[in-house]
Assembly symmetry: C2
Homo-oligomer: 226 residues x 2
């Protein structure tokens, strides 16, 4: 066990581990719904699609929540991970850009079930104004500051076209938003203290295409032995 102050939990969880915690959380939720009350690291690792040694090491950063010879209590571990990630609390979120993707995000149930509450949908296009999406009225982008202030929003989602993304990000930062999830296919620059994560749908396809190309490249005909 690494040295640790008594008042707080361990401080230095590796980034790679943080990225996997939500996967473990999801797997535990599924196990819980199936009525499983206890599971071993091996079972959970299979459910999460990772190596069991890696799983145990990841969990060890949170503390010793397992019992040797027995395994982990599903509910207890699930709560501990949820608390560590921060999804036991309520996170108000604004979505900017209510095109196809923005609408899909607004309707995505996976957000609300994990503590993310969409408090407003914003769009710069006046034609979209007053449309109702996922039970919320689409409001003008100019309302951003008021909304962020009223609901203490810390997280913003950008689902606009690429050209608008940097401007939206600047406005978000100016309003006090400190975490941004960017779906626009462009690099946005923000101050150091602001976190940005990007999701680019076409990049994932391109990575697949690269490997796909190399699968067929080596073979002269369509019949591949491997």
């Amino acid at each position: 066990m690494t040295a640790r102050t008594s008042s707080e939990t361990a401080r230095d969880i590796p980034e790679a581990t943080v990225a996997r915690l939500p996967v473990y959380l999801r797997a535990l939720t599924t196990l819980s719904e199936q009525g499983t009350s206890t599971c071993s690291s091996e079972e959970l690792a299979v459910a999460a699609g990772v190596n069991s040694a890696k799983l145990r090491k990841d969990l060890s950063y949170l503390g010793s929540y397992g019992t040797r010879g027995v395994g982990y209590d599903v509910e207890y571990l699930r709560y501990q991970i949820a608390r560590e990630i921060g999804v036991t609390q309520d996170w108000p979120v604004v979505i900017v850009g209510i095109g196809n993707l923005g609408q899909a995000l607004a309707n995505y149930s996976g957000f609300r079930s994990r503590g993310f509450r969409t408090v407003a949908l914003l769009d710069a296009d006046p034609a979209r104004r007053d449309e109702v999406v996922a039970g919320l009225v689409v409001r003008p982008f100019a309302d951003l500051e008021q909304i962020v202030h009223d609901h203490a929003v810390a997280i913003g989602v950008i689902a606009t076209p690429a050209v608008a993304a940097q401007d939206v990000a600047d406005r978000m930062v100016a309003c006090g938003i400190t975490s941004i999830l960017n779906f626009a296919p462009t690099v946005i620059s923000v101050p150091d203290q602001v976190d940005v994560r990007k999701v680019d749908l076409s990049i994932e396809l391109q990575i697949l295409a690269y490997h796909e190309q190399r699968k067929t490249q080596g073979a002269p005909s369509q019949e591949v032995g491997a």
Copy 2:
């Protein structure tokens, strides 16, 4: 320069580099549209949001396409990267699950502009049958095999609910699809020779929440110095 057979390009491009090539490609396209004909590794690195040394090392895996003292020819480099990724060719794609997300994907122009051509939209729900989305008629899931065969589809996109994802994946694999982009929030298992990439929208938000929680956690009041 690493040793390399004369007949083919280098074989071992690191996975981390492959994941960045599409970002470089996008940055180069933007530069090209702005009328820039030449750029240095520093300029391109800024546009792509990476370190310039990393960029140069990444590009060096493809070959020596730059000119010392000058930089890179935007058009030439763009073509070379596109060819390496494989987006100079046409990739037929099927999308399964035409809910909100599936519709957003079907309408996403970023796919078509990079060589990904959606040849069919499939959904198991008979109520969605014959709906027209993005100019394509939604067809029954049972048509998968016929479509994959007719259009030589190698890449499939799963945008179904989690419970259906594994079954869809199995059927895709059985039809001969060898690359899968999975948007369903669940782990799917496939044979080794099949590539799967996953995009989980809520996981990205959870990672942001973790960091957000720790930003505010240390500070007793709302006023944070950093």
